[in-house]
Subunit: 258 residues, 2 copies
Protein backbone atom coordinates (compact mmCIF):
# COMPACT_ATOMS: atom_id res chain seq x y z
CA UNK A 1 0.00 0.00 0.00
CA UNK A 2 1.09 3.63 0.26
CA UNK A 3 0.66 6.70 2.40
CA UNK A 4 -0.83 10.03 1.41
CA UNK A 5 -0.16 13.55 2.69
CA UNK A 6 -2.14 16.63 1.66
CA UNK A 7 -2.37 20.24 2.77
CA UNK A 8 -4.77 23.12 2.27
CA UNK A 9 -3.96 26.49 3.89
CA UNK A 10 -5.31 30.03 3.77
CA UNK A 11 -1.79 31.51 3.53
CA UNK A 12 1.25 30.10 1.71
CA UNK A 13 2.47 27.52 4.20
CA UNK A 14 5.62 25.46 4.59
CA UNK A 15 4.88 21.71 4.91
CA UNK A 16 8.36 20.65 6.03
CA UNK A 17 7.24 19.52 9.51
CA UNK A 18 4.60 17.11 8.17
CA UNK A 19 6.84 16.01 5.30
CA UNK A 20 9.60 15.14 7.79
CA UNK A 21 7.24 12.59 9.33
CA UNK A 22 6.08 11.17 5.98
CA UNK A 23 9.69 10.96 4.75
CA UNK A 24 10.55 8.56 7.61
CA UNK A 25 7.66 6.29 6.67
CA UNK A 26 9.20 5.98 3.20
CA UNK A 27 11.48 3.07 4.08
CA UNK A 28 12.50 3.73 7.71
CA UNK A 29 9.55 3.80 10.13
CA UNK A 30 7.23 2.44 7.42
CA UNK A 31 7.53 -0.02 4.52
CA UNK A 32 6.76 2.53 1.75
CA UNK A 33 10.25 2.41 0.21
CA UNK A 34 9.32 2.26 -3.50
CA UNK A 35 9.47 5.94 -4.38
CA UNK A 36 7.88 9.16 -3.26
CA UNK A 37 6.72 12.49 -4.66
CA UNK A 38 5.35 15.87 -3.63
CA UNK A 39 3.50 18.53 -5.63
CA UNK A 40 3.34 22.16 -4.56
CA UNK A 41 0.81 24.58 -6.04
CA UNK A 42 1.73 28.22 -6.42
CA UNK A 43 -1.21 30.04 -8.05
CA UNK A 44 -2.15 28.04 -11.18
CA UNK A 45 1.34 26.62 -11.49
CA UNK A 46 2.59 23.52 -9.76
CA UNK A 47 5.88 21.70 -9.43
CA UNK A 48 6.48 18.11 -8.50
CA UNK A 49 9.57 16.59 -6.95
CA UNK A 50 9.68 12.83 -7.30
CA UNK A 51 12.14 10.03 -6.89
CA UNK A 52 11.87 6.25 -7.26
CA UNK A 53 14.27 5.95 -4.30
CA UNK A 54 13.02 5.61 -0.69
CA UNK A 55 12.21 9.06 0.72
CA UNK A 56 14.13 8.47 3.95
CA UNK A 57 17.31 8.06 1.86
CA UNK A 58 16.67 10.51 -1.01
CA UNK A 59 18.83 13.60 -1.62
CA UNK A 60 15.80 15.24 -3.24
CA UNK A 61 13.68 14.53 -0.15
CA UNK A 62 16.48 16.02 1.96
CA UNK A 63 16.13 19.23 -0.08
CA UNK A 64 12.34 19.29 0.46
CA UNK A 65 12.89 18.82 4.20
CA UNK A 66 15.50 21.60 4.41
CA UNK A 67 14.29 24.18 1.87
CA UNK A 68 10.97 25.93 2.64
CA UNK A 69 8.55 26.05 -0.30
CA UNK A 70 5.39 27.87 0.73
CA UNK A 71 2.17 26.75 -0.89
CA UNK A 72 -1.63 26.84 -0.55
CA UNK A 73 -2.05 23.22 -1.66
CA UNK A 74 0.25 20.21 -1.40
CA UNK A 75 -0.23 16.59 -2.50
CA UNK A 76 2.41 14.04 -1.44
CA UNK A 77 2.82 10.25 -1.49
CA UNK A 78 5.19 7.51 -0.39
CA UNK A 79 4.83 4.27 -2.32
CA UNK A 80 4.82 0.60 -1.46
CA UNK A 81 4.50 -1.00 -4.89
CA UNK A 82 1.76 -3.49 -5.59
CA UNK A 83 0.74 -2.81 -9.21
CA UNK A 84 3.68 -1.86 -11.47
CA UNK A 85 7.42 -2.04 -10.79
CA UNK A 86 9.55 0.59 -9.04
CA UNK A 87 10.34 3.32 -11.58
CA UNK A 88 9.74 6.98 -12.26
CA UNK A 89 6.63 6.54 -14.42
CA UNK A 90 4.92 4.61 -11.61
CA UNK A 91 5.76 7.20 -8.95
CA UNK A 92 2.93 9.41 -7.61
CA UNK A 93 1.68 12.14 -7.70
CA UNK A 94 0.47 12.24 -11.30
CA UNK A 95 -0.52 15.49 -13.01
CA UNK A 96 -2.82 15.92 -16.02
CA UNK A 97 -4.11 19.11 -17.67
CA UNK A 98 -7.84 19.76 -18.00
CA UNK A 99 -9.82 22.99 -18.52
CA UNK A 100 -6.64 25.07 -18.31
CA UNK A 101 -5.72 23.69 -14.87
CA UNK A 102 -3.14 21.24 -13.61
CA UNK A 103 -4.92 18.35 -11.83
CA UNK A 104 -2.70 16.40 -9.45
CA UNK A 105 -3.61 13.01 -8.01
CA UNK A 106 -2.20 10.51 -5.53
CA UNK A 107 -3.77 7.21 -4.47
CA UNK A 108 -3.53 4.76 -1.61
CA UNK A 109 -5.14 1.36 -2.07
CA UNK A 110 -5.36 -1.40 -4.60
CA UNK A 111 -7.87 -2.00 -7.41
CA UNK A 112 -8.83 -5.08 -9.40
CA UNK A 113 -10.30 -5.03 -12.91
CA UNK A 114 -8.79 -1.56 -13.45
CA UNK A 115 -7.39 -2.62 -16.84
CA UNK A 116 -10.92 -2.19 -18.26
CA UNK A 117 -11.21 1.49 -17.28
CA UNK A 118 -11.62 3.56 -20.46
CA UNK A 119 -9.13 6.44 -20.42
CA UNK A 120 -9.91 7.92 -23.87
CA UNK A 121 -7.24 10.43 -24.81
CA UNK A 122 -5.61 10.19 -21.38
CA UNK A 123 -3.62 7.00 -21.89
CA UNK A 124 -1.53 6.02 -18.86
CA UNK A 125 2.25 6.20 -19.18
CA UNK A 126 3.13 3.72 -16.43
CA UNK A 127 1.50 0.45 -15.34
CA UNK A 128 -0.17 1.30 -12.01
CA UNK A 129 -3.83 0.87 -11.14
CA UNK A 130 -3.55 4.36 -9.63
CA UNK A 131 -2.52 6.21 -12.77
CA UNK A 132 -5.15 4.36 -14.81
CA UNK A 133 -7.84 5.30 -12.28
CA UNK A 134 -6.73 8.93 -12.53
CA UNK A 135 -6.71 8.92 -16.34
CA UNK A 136 -10.20 7.38 -16.28
CA UNK A 137 -11.40 10.03 -13.81
CA UNK A 138 -10.06 12.91 -15.94
CA UNK A 139 -11.58 11.34 -19.05
CA UNK A 140 -14.95 11.06 -17.25
CA UNK A 141 -14.74 14.69 -16.12
CA UNK A 142 -13.84 15.87 -19.61
CA UNK A 143 -16.75 13.99 -21.18
CA UNK A 144 -19.25 15.16 -18.56
CA UNK A 145 -18.10 18.81 -18.66
CA UNK A 146 -16.38 19.36 -22.04
CA UNK A 147 -15.87 23.08 -21.33
CA UNK A 148 -15.52 22.70 -17.55
CA UNK A 149 -18.22 23.93 -15.18
CA UNK A 150 -18.62 26.89 -12.86
CA UNK A 151 -21.03 24.82 -10.74
CA UNK A 152 -18.71 23.34 -8.11
CA UNK A 153 -21.49 21.37 -6.43
CA UNK A 154 -22.27 19.61 -9.71
CA UNK A 155 -18.56 18.89 -10.18
CA UNK A 156 -18.09 17.61 -6.62
CA UNK A 157 -21.14 15.32 -6.91
CA UNK A 158 -19.76 13.93 -10.14
CA UNK A 159 -16.31 13.29 -8.63
CA UNK A 160 -17.83 11.68 -5.52
CA UNK A 161 -19.90 9.33 -7.70
CA UNK A 162 -16.79 8.48 -9.75
CA UNK A 163 -14.80 7.74 -6.57
CA UNK A 164 -17.59 5.44 -5.37
CA UNK A 165 -17.36 3.58 -8.69
CA UNK A 166 -13.60 3.14 -8.20
CA UNK A 167 -14.20 1.94 -4.64
CA UNK A 168 -16.28 -0.87 -6.14
CA UNK A 169 -12.97 -2.12 -7.63
CA UNK A 170 -11.12 -2.26 -4.30
CA UNK A 171 -9.55 0.20 -1.87
CA UNK A 172 -9.50 3.79 -3.07
CA UNK A 173 -8.19 6.60 -0.88
CA UNK A 174 -7.32 9.66 -2.94
CA UNK A 175 -6.04 13.21 -2.92
CA UNK A 176 -6.86 15.42 -5.92
CA UNK A 177 -6.10 19.12 -6.42
CA UNK A 178 -6.27 21.69 -9.20
CA UNK A 179 -4.70 24.51 -7.20
CA UNK A 180 -8.16 25.91 -6.32
CA UNK A 181 -9.20 23.14 -3.94
CA UNK A 182 -8.04 19.89 -2.41
CA UNK A 183 -10.45 16.95 -2.73
CA UNK A 184 -9.89 14.04 -0.34
CA UNK A 185 -11.84 10.81 -0.69
CA UNK A 186 -11.52 7.78 1.55
CA UNK A 187 -12.95 4.34 0.95
CA UNK A 188 -11.18 2.96 3.98
CA UNK A 189 -8.39 4.91 5.68
CA UNK A 190 -7.63 8.63 5.77
CA UNK A 191 -7.36 11.21 8.58
CA UNK A 192 -7.38 14.99 8.79
CA UNK A 193 -6.63 17.74 11.28
CA UNK A 194 -7.19 21.48 11.12
CA UNK A 195 -4.82 23.76 12.99
CA UNK A 196 -5.89 27.31 13.82
CA UNK A 197 -5.61 29.78 16.72
CA UNK A 198 -5.01 29.16 19.55
CA UNK A 199 -2.08 27.12 18.20
CA UNK A 200 -0.24 24.61 20.34
CA UNK A 201 2.77 22.32 20.07
CA UNK A 202 2.76 19.18 17.94
CA UNK A 203 5.13 16.21 18.20
CA UNK A 204 5.84 13.97 15.21
CA UNK A 205 5.19 10.26 15.76
CA UNK A 206 7.98 9.12 13.39
CA UNK A 207 10.82 11.38 14.45
CA UNK A 208 11.83 13.26 17.57
CA UNK A 209 10.71 16.63 16.24
CA UNK A 210 8.19 19.02 17.78
CA UNK A 211 6.93 22.39 16.57
CA UNK A 212 5.25 25.11 18.58
CA UNK A 213 2.90 26.41 15.88
CA UNK A 214 2.13 29.56 17.88
CA UNK A 215 5.71 30.67 17.08
CA UNK A 216 5.41 29.80 13.37
CA UNK A 217 2.01 31.28 12.51
CA UNK A 218 -0.16 34.36 12.71
CA UNK A 219 -3.52 34.22 14.57
CA UNK A 220 -5.48 34.18 11.30
CA UNK A 221 -3.71 31.15 9.78
CA UNK A 222 -5.79 28.05 9.08
CA UNK A 223 -4.02 24.91 7.91
CA UNK A 224 -5.52 21.47 7.29
CA UNK A 225 -3.33 18.39 6.97
CA UNK A 226 -4.65 15.13 5.55
CA UNK A 227 -2.73 11.90 6.04
CA UNK A 228 -3.30 8.16 5.75
CA UNK A 229 -2.36 7.77 9.42
CA UNK A 230 -1.99 10.65 11.91
CA UNK A 231 1.51 12.14 11.73
CA UNK A 232 1.54 13.70 15.22
CA UNK A 233 0.44 12.86 18.73
CA UNK A 234 -2.24 15.60 18.69
CA UNK A 235 -5.57 14.12 19.86
CA UNK A 236 -7.78 15.93 17.35
CA UNK A 237 -7.07 13.96 14.18
CA UNK A 238 -10.38 12.91 12.64
CA UNK A 239 -10.89 9.70 10.68
CA UNK A 240 -12.86 9.89 7.43
CA UNK A 241 -16.08 7.88 7.29
CA UNK A 242 -16.21 5.13 4.64
CA UNK A 243 -16.70 6.68 1.18
CA UNK A 244 -16.56 10.19 2.63
CA UNK A 245 -15.29 13.00 0.42
CA UNK A 246 -14.18 16.36 1.85
CA UNK A 247 -13.27 19.40 -0.23
CA UNK A 248 -10.93 21.98 1.27
CA UNK A 249 -10.07 25.54 0.30
CA UNK A 250 -8.13 27.96 2.49
CA UNK A 251 -7.70 25.18 5.05
CA UNK A 252 -11.45 24.83 5.57
CA UNK A 253 -14.12 22.36 4.44
CA UNK A 254 -16.25 23.81 1.65
CA UNK A 255 -18.14 20.60 0.80
CA UNK A 256 -18.71 17.23 2.42
CA UNK A 257 -20.19 14.06 0.92
CA UNK A 258 -20.97 10.77 2.62
CA UNK B 1 14.58 35.84 -24.81
CA UNK B 2 15.74 32.61 -23.20
CA UNK B 3 18.35 29.89 -23.53
CA UNK B 4 17.82 26.22 -24.24
CA UNK B 5 19.83 23.15 -23.27
CA UNK B 6 19.11 19.63 -24.49
CA UNK B 7 20.86 16.28 -24.34
CA UNK B 8 20.56 12.92 -26.08
CA UNK B 9 22.90 10.10 -25.07
CA UNK B 10 23.27 6.38 -25.77
CA UNK B 11 23.88 5.61 -22.08
CA UNK B 12 22.35 7.26 -19.01
CA UNK B 13 24.46 10.40 -18.74
CA UNK B 14 24.93 13.08 -16.11
CA UNK B 15 24.39 16.62 -17.49
CA UNK B 16 25.84 18.51 -14.52
CA UNK B 17 28.79 19.94 -16.46
CA UNK B 18 26.61 21.54 -19.15
CA UNK B 19 23.98 22.58 -16.60
CA UNK B 20 26.67 24.36 -14.56
CA UNK B 21 27.25 26.62 -17.56
CA UNK B 22 23.56 27.22 -18.27
CA UNK B 23 22.91 27.93 -14.58
CA UNK B 24 25.34 30.87 -14.68
CA UNK B 25 23.52 32.37 -17.66
CA UNK B 26 20.36 32.40 -15.54
CA UNK B 27 21.01 35.80 -13.97
CA UNK B 28 24.80 35.96 -13.59
CA UNK B 29 26.71 35.71 -16.92
CA UNK B 30 23.43 36.10 -18.85
CA UNK B 31 20.19 38.08 -18.39
CA UNK B 32 17.89 35.01 -18.18
CA UNK B 33 16.95 35.56 -14.54
CA UNK B 34 13.18 34.90 -14.75
CA UNK B 35 13.07 31.25 -13.82
CA UNK B 36 14.51 28.00 -15.05
CA UNK B 37 13.63 24.33 -15.36
CA UNK B 38 15.05 20.97 -16.34
CA UNK B 39 13.35 17.70 -17.30
CA UNK B 40 15.07 14.32 -17.06
CA UNK B 41 13.72 11.25 -18.83
CA UNK B 42 14.21 7.84 -17.28
CA UNK B 43 12.52 5.24 -19.50
CA UNK B 44 8.94 6.49 -20.14
CA UNK B 45 8.91 8.51 -16.94
CA UNK B 46 10.19 12.03 -16.55
CA UNK B 47 10.69 14.47 -13.74
CA UNK B 48 10.97 18.22 -13.93
CA UNK B 49 12.67 20.54 -11.48
CA UNK B 50 11.62 24.15 -11.93
CA UNK B 51 11.87 27.41 -10.08
CA UNK B 52 10.72 30.95 -10.90
CA UNK B 53 13.92 32.19 -9.19
CA UNK B 54 17.14 32.86 -11.16
CA UNK B 55 19.05 29.61 -11.65
CA UNK B 56 22.39 31.07 -10.52
CA UNK B 57 20.77 31.76 -7.12
CA UNK B 58 18.38 28.79 -6.77
CA UNK B 59 18.74 26.13 -4.06
CA UNK B 60 17.00 23.69 -6.41
CA UNK B 61 19.52 24.45 -9.18
CA UNK B 62 22.30 23.91 -6.63
CA UNK B 63 20.91 20.41 -6.05
CA UNK B 64 20.83 19.69 -9.80
CA UNK B 65 24.44 20.85 -10.08
CA UNK B 66 25.61 18.73 -7.16
CA UNK B 67 23.46 15.58 -7.41
CA UNK B 68 24.01 13.36 -10.47
CA UNK B 69 20.80 12.29 -12.22
CA UNK B 70 21.64 10.09 -15.20
CA UNK B 71 19.33 10.25 -18.16
CA UNK B 72 19.06 9.49 -21.89
CA UNK B 73 17.22 12.73 -22.68
CA UNK B 74 17.24 16.13 -20.99
CA UNK B 75 15.39 19.36 -21.83
CA UNK B 76 16.35 22.51 -19.90
CA UNK B 77 15.63 26.24 -20.12
CA UNK B 78 16.54 29.54 -18.48
CA UNK B 79 13.98 32.29 -18.99
CA UNK B 80 14.09 35.98 -19.76
CA UNK B 81 10.42 36.91 -19.66
CA UNK B 82 8.80 38.66 -22.58
CA UNK B 83 5.27 37.19 -22.75
CA UNK B 84 3.74 36.50 -19.31
CA UNK B 85 4.97 37.51 -15.86
CA UNK B 86 7.52 35.68 -13.73
CA UNK B 87 5.73 32.78 -12.02
CA UNK B 88 5.69 29.01 -11.86
CA UNK B 89 3.01 28.47 -14.51
CA UNK B 90 5.07 30.46 -17.03
CA UNK B 91 8.29 28.55 -16.32
CA UNK B 92 9.57 26.07 -18.96
CA UNK B 93 9.81 23.17 -19.70
CA UNK B 94 6.14 22.26 -20.15
CA UNK B 95 4.97 18.63 -20.25
CA UNK B 96 1.77 17.27 -21.81
CA UNK B 97 0.58 13.67 -22.21
CA UNK B 98 -0.21 12.26 -25.66
CA UNK B 99 -0.40 8.67 -26.95
CA UNK B 100 0.73 7.32 -23.56
CA UNK B 101 3.94 9.37 -23.60
CA UNK B 102 5.09 12.48 -21.74
CA UNK B 103 5.95 15.21 -24.27
CA UNK B 104 8.23 17.92 -22.91
CA UNK B 105 8.82 21.26 -24.62
CA UNK B 106 10.97 24.36 -24.13
CA UNK B 107 11.09 27.42 -26.40
CA UNK B 108 13.41 30.29 -27.12
CA UNK B 109 12.04 33.19 -29.15
CA UNK B 110 9.00 35.41 -29.32
CA UNK B 111 5.76 35.02 -31.28
CA UNK B 112 3.07 37.49 -32.33
CA UNK B 113 -0.55 36.58 -33.06
CA UNK B 114 -0.13 33.45 -30.95
CA UNK B 115 -3.40 34.18 -29.09
CA UNK B 116 -5.26 32.83 -32.15
CA UNK B 117 -3.64 29.39 -32.04
CA UNK B 118 -6.38 26.79 -31.46
CA UNK B 119 -5.38 24.49 -28.60
CA UNK B 120 -8.55 22.36 -28.43
CA UNK B 121 -8.53 20.29 -25.25
CA UNK B 122 -4.99 21.38 -24.41
CA UNK B 123 -5.78 24.78 -22.89
CA UNK B 124 -2.71 26.64 -21.63
CA UNK B 125 -2.38 27.16 -17.89
CA UNK B 126 -0.04 30.18 -17.97
CA UNK B 127 0.11 33.21 -20.30
CA UNK B 128 3.21 32.60 -22.41
CA UNK B 129 3.37 32.44 -26.21
CA UNK B 130 5.58 29.37 -25.66
CA UNK B 131 3.07 27.26 -23.75
CA UNK B 132 0.30 28.20 -26.19
CA UNK B 133 2.49 27.18 -29.15
CA UNK B 134 3.16 23.84 -27.42
CA UNK B 135 -0.53 23.24 -26.66
CA UNK B 136 -1.35 24.05 -30.30
CA UNK B 137 1.37 21.66 -31.51
CA UNK B 138 0.09 18.79 -29.33
CA UNK B 139 -3.48 19.51 -30.45
CA UNK B 140 -2.34 19.41 -34.10
CA UNK B 141 -0.50 16.13 -33.52
CA UNK B 142 -3.51 14.59 -31.78
CA UNK B 143 -5.87 15.58 -34.60
CA UNK B 144 -3.49 14.38 -37.32
CA UNK B 145 -2.70 11.07 -35.59
CA UNK B 146 -5.58 10.31 -33.19
CA UNK B 147 -4.09 6.94 -32.23
CA UNK B 148 -0.46 7.98 -32.70
CA UNK B 149 1.65 6.65 -35.57
CA UNK B 150 4.41 4.10 -35.92
CA UNK B 151 5.67 5.98 -38.99
CA UNK B 152 8.31 8.29 -37.52
CA UNK B 153 9.09 9.92 -40.86
CA UNK B 154 5.45 10.94 -41.26
CA UNK B 155 5.46 12.29 -37.69
CA UNK B 156 8.72 14.21 -38.13
CA UNK B 157 7.50 15.76 -41.40
CA UNK B 158 4.32 16.85 -39.67
CA UNK B 159 6.21 18.39 -36.73
CA UNK B 160 8.66 20.15 -39.07
CA UNK B 161 5.76 21.68 -41.03
CA UNK B 162 4.11 22.77 -37.75
CA UNK B 163 7.37 24.39 -36.57
CA UNK B 164 7.64 26.26 -39.87
CA UNK B 165 4.08 27.58 -39.31
CA UNK B 166 5.08 28.82 -35.84
CA UNK B 167 8.19 30.44 -37.31
CA UNK B 168 5.86 32.51 -39.49
CA UNK B 169 4.71 34.11 -36.20
CA UNK B 170 8.21 35.15 -35.08
CA UNK B 171 11.28 33.48 -33.63
CA UNK B 172 10.83 29.81 -32.78
CA UNK B 173 13.72 27.72 -31.48
CA UNK B 174 12.46 24.60 -29.73
CA UNK B 175 13.39 21.42 -27.92
CA UNK B 176 10.79 18.63 -27.77
CA UNK B 177 11.15 15.13 -26.33
CA UNK B 178 8.94 12.15 -25.54
CA UNK B 179 11.69 10.05 -23.95
CA UNK B 180 12.25 8.16 -27.24
CA UNK B 181 13.83 11.02 -29.16
CA UNK B 182 14.88 14.64 -28.86
CA UNK B 183 13.60 16.95 -31.60
CA UNK B 184 15.41 20.28 -31.99
CA UNK B 185 14.13 22.97 -34.36
CA UNK B 186 15.77 26.33 -34.97
CA UNK B 187 14.26 29.27 -36.81
CA UNK B 188 17.23 31.44 -35.89
CA UNK B 189 19.70 30.39 -33.20
CA UNK B 190 20.65 26.95 -31.88
CA UNK B 191 23.91 24.96 -31.75
CA UNK B 192 24.85 21.34 -31.21
CA UNK B 193 27.90 19.25 -30.52
CA UNK B 194 28.41 15.48 -30.42
CA UNK B 195 31.05 14.05 -28.11
CA UNK B 196 32.37 10.55 -28.73
CA UNK B 197 35.71 8.69 -28.62
CA UNK B 198 38.41 9.87 -28.69
CA UNK B 199 37.18 12.19 -25.94
CA UNK B 200 39.06 15.35 -24.97
CA UNK B 201 38.84 18.09 -22.37
CA UNK B 202 36.13 20.79 -22.48
CA UNK B 203 36.22 24.15 -20.73
CA UNK B 204 32.98 25.97 -19.83
CA UNK B 205 32.69 29.53 -21.17
CA UNK B 206 30.64 30.78 -18.20
CA UNK B 207 32.54 29.33 -15.30
CA UNK B 208 36.10 28.22 -14.62
CA UNK B 209 35.29 24.53 -14.89
CA UNK B 210 36.84 21.98 -17.22
CA UNK B 211 36.13 18.27 -17.66
CA UNK B 212 38.32 15.63 -19.24
CA UNK B 213 35.61 13.48 -20.79
CA UNK B 214 38.02 10.61 -21.41
CA UNK B 215 38.03 10.12 -17.62
CA UNK B 216 34.23 10.29 -17.33
CA UNK B 217 33.14 8.05 -20.19
CA UNK B 218 33.60 4.67 -21.83
CA UNK B 219 34.81 4.46 -25.46
CA UNK B 220 31.34 3.58 -26.74
CA UNK B 221 29.57 6.61 -25.20
CA UNK B 222 27.95 9.08 -27.59
CA UNK B 223 26.48 12.28 -26.17
CA UNK B 224 24.97 15.20 -28.06
CA UNK B 225 24.42 18.54 -26.38
CA UNK B 226 22.18 21.21 -27.91
CA UNK B 227 22.34 24.80 -26.67
CA UNK B 228 21.25 28.24 -27.78
CA UNK B 229 24.87 29.41 -27.64
CA UNK B 230 27.89 27.10 -27.29
CA UNK B 231 28.57 26.33 -23.64
CA UNK B 232 32.25 25.40 -24.04
CA UNK B 233 35.33 26.56 -25.93
CA UNK B 234 35.37 23.39 -28.06
CA UNK B 235 35.68 24.35 -31.75
CA UNK B 236 33.24 21.75 -33.10
CA UNK B 237 29.91 23.29 -32.12
CA UNK B 238 27.69 23.41 -35.21
CA UNK B 239 25.07 26.09 -35.83
CA UNK B 240 21.64 24.98 -37.07
CA UNK B 241 20.59 26.27 -40.48
CA UNK B 242 17.47 28.47 -40.53
CA UNK B 243 14.34 26.30 -40.08
CA UNK B 244 16.46 23.18 -39.67
CA UNK B 245 15.09 20.34 -37.55
CA UNK B 246 17.30 17.56 -36.21
CA UNK B 247 16.04 14.46 -34.43
CA UNK B 248 18.37 12.65 -32.03
CA UNK B 249 18.27 9.22 -30.43
CA UNK B 250 21.17 7.62 -28.58
CA UNK B 251 23.17 10.83 -29.13
CA UNK B 252 23.01 10.51 -32.92
CA UNK B 253 21.01 12.19 -35.66
CA UNK B 254 18.24 9.91 -36.95
CA UNK B 255 16.48 12.50 -39.13
CA UNK B 256 17.30 15.92 -40.57
CA UNK B 257 14.98 18.46 -42.22
CA UNK B 258 15.86 21.77 -43.83
Amino acid sequence: MCELLGMSANVPTDIRFSFAGLKQRGGKTGPHKDGWGITFYEDKGCRTFKDPKPSFDSKIADLIESYPIKSHFVVAHVRQANRGHVCLQNTHPFTLPLWGRNWTFAHNGQLTGYEQLDCGLWQPIGETDSERAFCWLINQMQHQFPQGTSDNIELFNFIHDACNKLTALGVFNMLLSDGNMLIAYSSKKLHWITRKAPFSTAQLLDEDVAVNFSEETTPSDIVTIIATEPLTSEPNWIKFNPNEMLVFTDGQIIAQYN
